[in-house]
Point group: C2
Chain length 158, copies 2
Amino acid sequence: MKLSNGVEWALHCCVSLSQTEHPVPTLRLAELHDVPPAYLAKHLQALARAGVVRSTQGQDGGYTLTRPAAEITMLDVVAAIDGPAPFFRCTEIRRRGPLAADPARCANRCPVARAMGAAELAWRAALGTVTIAELATDIDAASGGDALVGVRDWLREH
Amino acid sequence: MKLSNGVEWALHCCVSLSQTEHPVPTLRLAELHDVPPAYLAKHLQALARAGVVRSTQGQDGGYTLTRPAAEITMLDVVAAIDGPAPFFRCTEIRRRGPLAADPARCANRCPVARAMGAAELAWRAALGTVTIAELATDIDAASGGDALVGVRDWLREH
DNA sequence: GCCGAGGTACTCGGATACGATTTGTCCGAGTTAGAATGG
DNA sequence: CCATTCTAACTCGGACAAATCGTATCCGAGTACCTCGGC
């Protein structure tokens, strides 16, 4: 089980987008992070579909955040890229084989699926507590306090 | 991101194995759950490599749990089947592109990776609190109290 | 009747094809900014 | 000098291949039980 590579790109892109009000095109975001532009575009489209970013077409167009970075959580981004499907899909083994349980008697969810669902909920909850704004602050602090300024300047002069 | 299908099989197999002291061969477990025998064998090998089950060769051989079901957690099984690799692999985007951060200044982990790691830890912790014994009890209760007896009888007469 | 050797049937284990999902790329539709033109 | 039209460049968006991982399968190595023969 591996999380899509684009999740990391999308998160860093959101952090970068939080540093400007101006639309930033895909090509600019791609060279800023040194990733394949066409593939990054695909993920940005997913973010747009999920309502995390808004696309502006035409010259001087690009992507902007739809709401303040403090109101976007990592969960929003991960769900947008990875999709809403749960990790674990119960195939109802109980109802198969020679000892197939009577469907009427096992109407409630399989305990295995329930435990898996609870664990996944814990994962999502943890991601929901971290916002893009917090990520930006932490990244800035980890880099000595010049990362965000650097992004702002770079976006302004390009 | 999708969890391997074999995780569900492995969990149910462990529950079944907890109902007997006698070794149970792959073929028996496969027809009990109505799954492809050869593929189930692959996952059982993984469980054996992880030390969750022990294999006994020769006639009347098969698989048995290496320790009481109350001492085996869902995390043990999931880690055995899915592997130890984390969901999120940080590619250190900060060190790429025109604004590459000085490696000396970002020696600590990227905040994105840290948050992802924390969320994954929450997931693993949730899985670690549920044991195979608890799963067996819940499954029995959900099926009206005759599921475990059914498995025991079926394994005895086959 | 007891012991031992051999055979046999059953078990696991790793090496081998197939399919699906993820990854990566491309070109066309649509839109906006700016320039050129006419009033 | 201003409004209008036109062009042109730039943007996103979805449709199209390649690679990697999960799925499924097979056959060989090894072991314990059972049978048979000898003592």
